[in-house]
């Protein structure tokens, strides 16, 4: 009797992977998701369809009829979100075509960034970052998404190292033989001269 009782130990199992229901789940957005889930359940009825990024995102507000007063900026880097839905007056981004000022009500644009200074103007204060490269999306609803690979505040840059790097890459360019080396050296020069002008200008 003792043996039987000790043998009937409760079996513990790992909690099944349960998705937390997100408050950001939009009823309207998953129209593409609906076709996907339907197609999935038809072909693979035994498994739950995988989730898609749309169900994990906060929905964006639609384009308002009048121009809003503030620009909402999302400035993201691979390692952090520098600014997340911050309301500012203006941002100046270093697009490949030159410095571009973005105000609320800007026309919807996709622009690639080149190494340069990004400045965020909020009221009377201005924050400057040196951005290596990336993209900026300006949406019609006065949302601006800036995605950069690296961004540092200007006060963290060392002038001497910048000069040294510039000299180094210039010499590399002159001694470069293959196209790849030339391209790499040219990129180095571009970035360092942008750094230079950021620090001096």
């Amino acid at each position: 009797m003792l043996g039987r009782a000790s043998m009937l130990l409760p079996c513990r199992s790992i909690l099944p992977a349960r998705a937390r229901p997100f408050s950001t789940d939009l009823p309207a957005a998953p129209s593409a998701d609906a076709t996907f889930t339907e197609a999935w359940t038809k072909v693979i009825p035994n498994m739950d369809p995988p989730k898609t990024p749309l169900s994990f995102m906060q929905p964006r507000p639609p384009t308002p009829s009048s121009i809003p007063s503030k620009l909402t900026v999302n400035f993201v880097l691979p390692y952090a979100s520098e600014l997340a839905t911050k309301e500012v007056d203006m941002v100046i981004v270093p697009a490949t075509t030159g410095q571009m000022g973005v105000l609320p009500g800007h026309v919807a644009t996709i622009a690639e960034l080149k190494p340069g200074v990004l400045s965020v103007h909020e009221g009377s204060e201005m924050t400057k970052y040196f951005v290596s490269s990336g993209f900026v999306f300006i949406h019609a609803n006065s949302f601006a998404d800036i995605i950069a690979v690296e961004a540092v505040p200007l006060d963290r840059l060392d002038v001497n190292l910048v000069q040294k790097g510039l000299a180094e890459f210039t010499s590399k360019l002159s001694s470069a033989t293959t196209d790849l080396e030339k391209a790499e050296a040219q990129i180095g020069i571009d970035v360092h001269s942008a750094l230079n002008s950021a620090l001096t200008g």
Binding site: M1, L2, G3, R4, S6, M7, L9, R12, I14, L15, A17, R18, A19, R20, S31, A32, D33, T35, F36, A39, W40, V43, I44, M47, P50, K51, T52, P53, L54, F56, M57, Q58, R60, N74, V76, L77, P78, Y79, A80, S81, A84, A95, T96, T97, M100, V107, A108, T109, I110, A111, E112, G134, F135, F137, H139, A140, F143, D145, I147, V149
Partner: protein, 325 residues
């Protein structure tokens, strides 16, 4: 009743008991300690064997507990990174939307899995989803290829889908994950694989006990153009002015490549978190299981010990009473 229970316990360990004829040949010091024959010819498992088993189960419990602690500390380290990288893919989805059901000719499924095992069922889930996507996107003129990250998915997919595998990448986590490494990886994939749509399959980390299989879709610029022209979800992409570059196509190409590397970075981090979390819960349930086993073995050990003592006493007493007459 107790003897019936003992008999059952004895039968459970029966394979470990050596058969009778052999013990008769063994040297005398060994035989009594290995087997005791009690009343009704019941064979008990020897206490020595049970003691050995208890020792090994206790060691296993220690090991799994240690593995759980290690996984917990690794999870802590990588979780902040993953959460910080979550903002990275959102602008792309906001701009380009999410079209997992886009009908394309060349699909590439990028399966992200772990290199090490003992992490529960997350790798099997990813592989099942990848195979599901393969099935979903099969049809005339359509082909699906695999790009595999991680040993575990490679082991599973190489068995039946060997001809569909384009690229296998392992030992991703040898050095701590960073964006540069992942972007080089993304570059390699984009260079070597022709694609119309890239579907990245990974486990998204929600919490230590919950990992959701997710698929992120990155479309090539041509498909993006096609979807934008046909209206629907990407219809208002045309309203976006494209600054710079010679052509819109060039910028869209850069955009697609950048999107792929950003989404990959986030996916790899999330999968690493899920792996550590799954390992934590797997090792936790394993140590708990070992603890239960240890309790059961302790009871068996005590019962066996007491039974042999009782048997000895019975023999002595019956021997003594026989002498008295």
């Amino acid at each position: 009743m107790a003897l019936a229970a003992l008999r059952r316990e004895g039968r459970r360990f029966a394979p470990m008991i050596s058969p009778r004829p052999i013990t008769a040949l063994r040297s005398s010091p060994l035989a009594p300690s290995l087997e005791d024959e009690g009343p009704i010819g019941v064979r008990y498992i020897s206490t020595q064997v049970v003691r050995n088993r208890m020792k090994s189960v206790k060691n296993i419990q220690k090991i799994t507990k240690a593995m759980k602690m290690v996984a917990a500390s690794k999870l802590r380290a990588i979780q902040t990174k993953a959460e910080n990288s979550r903002g990275l893919w959102q602008p792309f989805t906001a701009l380009l939307g999410d079209l997992p059901s886009a009908d394309v000719k060349k699909n590439v499924v990028v399966t992200i899995s772990s290199d090490k095992g003992l992490c529960g069922g997350i790798n099997s889930t990813s592989v099942k989803i990848s195979k599901g996507l393969h099935k979903l996107n099969s049809g005339p003129e359509k082909e699906t290829k695999y790009v595999i990250l991680g040993e575990k998915a490679k082991a599973q997919l190489i068995r039946d889908s060997k001809k569909d595998i384009e690229l296998i990448i392992t030992e991703l986590q040898k050095n701590p994950l960073n964006y540069t490494q992942v972007s080089v990886l993304a570059d390699e994939i984009l260079k070597n694989v022709e694609y119309d749509a890239l579907r990245i399959v990974f486990n998204k980390f929600h919490s230590v006990v919950s990992f959701v299989p997710t698929v992120s879709t990155v479309l090539s610029p041509e498909i993006v153009e096609r979807e934008a022209e046909s209206g629907g979800k990407l219809g208002d992409l045309d309203s976006y002015e494209v600054e710079g570059g010679e052509t819109k196509g060039e910028i869209l190409q850069n955009l697609a490549e950048f999107q792929f590397s950003c989404v990959m970075f986030n996916a790899v981090l999330e999968n690493a978190c899920s792996e550590q979390g799954a390992r934590m819960s797997a090792m936790d349930s394993s140590s708990r299981n070992a603890g239960d086993m240890l309790d059961r073995l302790t009871l068996t050990y005590n019962r066996t010990r007491q039974a042999s003592i009782t048997t000895e006493l019975i023999e002595i007493i019956s021997g003594a009473s026989a002498l008295e007459g």
